[in-house]
């Protein structure tokens, strides 16, 4: 049967998938409402189409409809979905079941949620072909290992015998993409497969997807909100908004000459717009972190000898991949994780290492904003209680005064006063994050720690949040410690940048010094991994020396030598692995980096 299928692929001109006038309704409190309003789509074999838009645009719903599937609470009301001559809307469940997994497969956003943690990876890989009766278990396992080999997964012969928790996040994501290929489908639907990944991991996964889709002539629907990512993949782009088509064109055309205002906004949201460093007349140290070492339980030191100075009114960004210790640093500053050695002081006053030893005043001065606004807001509290609690707790505001202040805060975060009685479920992702910002502001803090505050948001929404944070800083003179893995975000908001790798500071200094040559090799890898809004970027990056050495490797914490040595394209044999890199200071004010190479050598190398 598999053989038959591949033989048909000669008829290139016939569309593989056709959607005509597709309308889908979703059940809301006010009854059925249209969430996809008449979409046409045509996809030929070997083509990739990108569906792009912010959340609520109906991209995922359309993606699922390509399998003839509607989520619970959704129904397809009108239109045709024709897959290789089969009308999926009238096809029986049995017919659709036979297609799904074998000829059309689906890759979800989170590999961690898509794999069953109780089964080995290869066993899950063979489940599809075996259940559909296409291959015997042994034959399927053999093919799986061959696919792992061709995708350059480490130890391809045995990696399938591992459990999902035993491989890194990037590897798991790649295994999931591989699993979608287990029945050699004609069409794969990718639903945000790289969202919320580090830039370096993203490249690793994009490479796998590209290898699978382009090299094997599979058609794909790629759903994402990130235009720069989909530009590397898709032949055509469909820009969607509120279930309606905004614009459809070839990828090159959309990037070069977008026809619609909304598409231009999407393009702008990714473009770097650099913040000019704020000039403070007499800088005053607000937060000082002095040779801090910390770790969990009896484990190794997750942070080693970290020293950072944060000046009042500035934004200091801490960047690095996951596992580099960024969030641990935030936990140390807030007192959730006591230090093993070293000191944290605020306004020159030493902060007790443990949270419960800190006074109310000290707690008030440091506030946090989290990555996932969904779990940072209590779903059972109204906005009034969420924002109001710090007001009464720290400032003793009650009744009218408190209400008045809540309204002022709502105004500052650009939300209408009527939102005061809403619960978090009635807010969008961006609005929730704004409420989190208001809650932090309500305490009237000195320092706000922003932990990946934009990485769970769509690019347009994220940009609006960054603008808001920037405006609030200008108006109120706030100080931010901004934790992020997204260098675009960092470039647009930071004054100072700290590059963290495996719990050590690789490089730190003014943004201009860090983001310009001479580069620390790790900074260079991070910078070269940020997707650019042009076609062909992925291929260029993949062939670069940094990427070849640096991607698809895990962050390892080491006691001796330089932790980056295995991923470094310029490492020096015998030296880097054994002796700690010396810390160099360049001419730029306060710019330091840790490397065996001198600034001159790295500058020479950057050319």
């Amino acid at each position: 049967m598999l053989v038959d299928m591949k033989d048909n692929s000669g008829s290139e001109s016939e569309p593989l998938l056709q959607m005509k006038g597709l309308r889908i309704e979703g059940l809301s409190e006010n009854g059925w409402q249209e969430i996809v309003c008449g979409i046409d789509l045509e996809l030929k074999r070997g083509e990739i189409i990108g569906l792009i838009g912010e959340s609520g645009a109906g991209k995922s719903t359309i993606g699922l409809a390509a399998m003839g599937y509607a989520r619970d609470g959704c129904r397809i009301t009108e239109g045709d979905i024709i897959f290789d001559g089969i009308e999926l809307r009238t096809a029986s469940e049995e017919e659709k079941r036979k297609l799904r997994g074998t000829r059309i497969s689906y890759v979800a956003q989170s590999a961690a949620a898509a794999f069953n943690p109780a089964h080995r990876l290869l066993d899950q890989y063979v489940e599809g072909p075996v259940a559909h009766g296409l291959l015997s278990p042994d034959r399927a396992k053999e093919k799986g290992r061959a696919l792992y080999r061709s995708l350059d997964l480490p130890d391809p012969e045995n990696i399938g015998e591992r459990w999902p928790h035993q491989v890194s996040g990037g590897q798991l994501q790649r295994m999931m993409v591989a699993m979608a290929m287990s029945c050699e489908p004609d069409l794969i639907i990718f639903d945000e497969p790289t969202t919320a990944l580090d830039v370096t991991t993203q490249i690793e996964v994009l490479k796998t997807i590209k290898e699978i889709v382009v090299d094997r002539n599979v058609a794909a629907i790629y759903v994402t909100h990130d235009l720069a990512v989909v530009a590397q993949m898709a032949d055509h782009l469909m820009v969607l908004r509120h279930g309606k088509l905004v614009e459809v064109n070839s990828t090159g055309q959309i990037l070069k000459s977008p026809q619609q205002e909304y598409t231009r906004n999407l393009l702008d949201a990714r473009s770097r717009d650099e913040k000019t460093p704020s000039q403070i007349p007499n800088p005053q140290t607000l937060l000082s972190i002095d040779s801090v070492t910390a770790g969990y339980g009896k484990g190794p030191d997750i942070l080693q000898d970290i020293s950072i100075l944060v000046e009042r009114g500035q934004t200091v960004a801490v960047v690095g991949e996951s596992g580099s210790g960024k969030s641990t640093l935030a936990r140390v500053i807030t007192g959730l994780l006591p230090t093993r050695s070293g000191a944290v002081s605020l306004e020159g006053e030493l902060l007790p290492a443990e949270l419960r030893k800190r006074g109310k005043q000290q707690l008030q001065k440091i506030q946090m904003i989290y990555q996932l606004p969904d779990v940072a807001l209590n779903p059972r509290q109204r906005v009034r209680d969420i924002i109001g609690r710090p007001l009464s707790f720290y400032l003793g505001l009650q009744g009218k005064q408190r209400e008045q202040r809540i309204f002022e805060l709502l105004q500052q975060i650009e939300l209408p006063e009527s939102f005061i009685d809403r619960i978090p479920d009635e807010l969008s992702g961006g609005e929730k994050q704004r409420v989190c910002i208001a809650r932090a502001l309500a305490a009237e803090p000195e320092l706000i720690i922003c932990d990946e505050v934009t990485s769970a948001l769509d690019s347009i929404v994220a940009k609006a949040i960054l603008n808001l944070l920037q405006r609030l800083q200008n108006e109120l003179g706030l100080t931010y410690l901004f934790i992020s893995h997204d260098l675009d975000t960092v470039a647009s908001i930071a004054d100072q940048v700290v590059v963290l790798y495996a719990g050590r500071i690789a490089e730190q200094g003014p943004k201009s010094a860090v983001f310009q040559p001479p580069f620390h090799p790790y900074t260079r890898l991070l910078l070269s991994s940020v997707p650019e809004m042009r076609q062909g970027w992925l291929e260029e990056t993949l062939s670069s020396r940094e990427t070849q050495a640096g991607i698809a490797r895990e962050v390892k914490i080491t006691e001796q030598g330089c932790p980056f040595v295995e991923r470094c394209p310029v490492s020096i044999d015998d030296i880097c692995a054994h002796s700690r890199p010396p810390i160099h200071t360049t001419t730029a004010s306060g710019h330091t980096f840790a490397c065996q190479h001198s600034a001159e050598a790295l500058l020479e190398d950057s050319k």
Binding site: G73, L336, M368, Y370, V375
Partner: protein, 278 residues
């Protein structure tokens, strides 16, 4: 208020039936003195085990007391006691369970292990032992069953609260410097209220059955207080003569259990967030 009515109206048929039955029991229990034809202890006739008649709709018991009146007062005693015990068990188990989840560490370890020890003892044997040593007074009865039931409540409260305690909003409250009581009351409790409420209904049934079982064994509510479990015991011999009277208090127990379970099922379904696919 309007909201509550709307939710109640949206309940499925079985839950509505359950609610109507529960309401009926409550009315009977609350207005027992007005409804019952005779007093709780009133010896209506010198004839024991009188058959059903217009004077005694369900006949009389072994001492010649009116069965129907005893049944109605029995609702009051058994229901009231079961409710008191369940509420106390939830207060004890719930507060300790949430504290264990919120604090974690050694507090959690100690509370959980002590709880495990109590759970390891078979509950009926434990209750028989305590009640035969200390006597079958109402305070001991309540105390024993509360402790036994609180262990179950502790487990579910701790497990559900653990899921909430790791949320960022609980961390926010801790970073703000909130006290433990506030964190439990404002951040954790509202988010685990639904499963706890469902568990409350189920627990109530078990307490009710347990009480009846103890009464049947002669260690529960003591005569002359009317109680369904002991009523079954006192008139059990009648079954041998083809009289169904002893089955009536038993049926009253069964019906209430079924009704409560109907409502609990619906609440569990609601709290699980599953949507009906139409």
């Amino acid at each position: 208020m309007n909201n509550i009515i709307k939710i109640l109206l949206s309940a499925p048929f079985s839950a509505k039936v359950g609610m109507i039955i529960i309401t009926f029991y409550l009315i009977v229990a609350i207005f027992a003195p007005l409804i019952a034809p005779y007093g709780e202890y009133y010896l209506a006739t010198p004839i024991a085990y009188e058959v059903w008649s217009s004077d005694y709709p369900l006949g009389t018991d072994n001492l010649g007391r009116d069965m129907l009146s005893r049944l109605i007062y029995g609702a009051r005693n058994t229901l009231g006691l079961a409710l008191t015990i369940t509420v106390l068990a939830f207060l004890l188990g719930g507060i300790l369970g949430m504290t264990a989840a919120a604090l974690g560490g050694w507090v959690d370890q100690i509370l959980s292990r002590v709880n495990d020890v109590f759970m390891a003892i078979p509950s009926l044997i434990f209750a028989l032992l305590i009640l035969s040593i200390f006597g079958t007074t109402i305070p001991y009865l309540i105390g024993t069953i509360v402790i036994l039931d609180a262990t179950r409540v502790f487990r579910i409260a701790r497990a559900t609260a653990m899921n909430v305690a790791v949320m960022d909003y609980v961390e926010v409250a801790r970073l703000r410097g909130e006290k433990l009581g506030w964190v439990i009351r404002k951040e954790i409790l509202p988010n685990i209220a639904a499963p706890l409420l469902a568990e409350f209904g189920l627990r109530f049934c078990f307490v009710f059955l347990f009480l009846s079982a103890l009464s049947f064994l002669g260690l529960g509510i003591q005569p002359p207080t009317a109680d369904w479990g002991s009523m079954v015991r006192e008139s059990a011999a009648l079954i041998a003569f083809g009289d169904i009277t002893p089955l009536i208090p038993a049926a009253a127990i069964a019906l209430l259990t079924v009704a409560v379970n109907f409502v609990v099922d619906w609440m569990l379904h609601r709290s699980s967030g599953l949507k009906d696919v139409s």
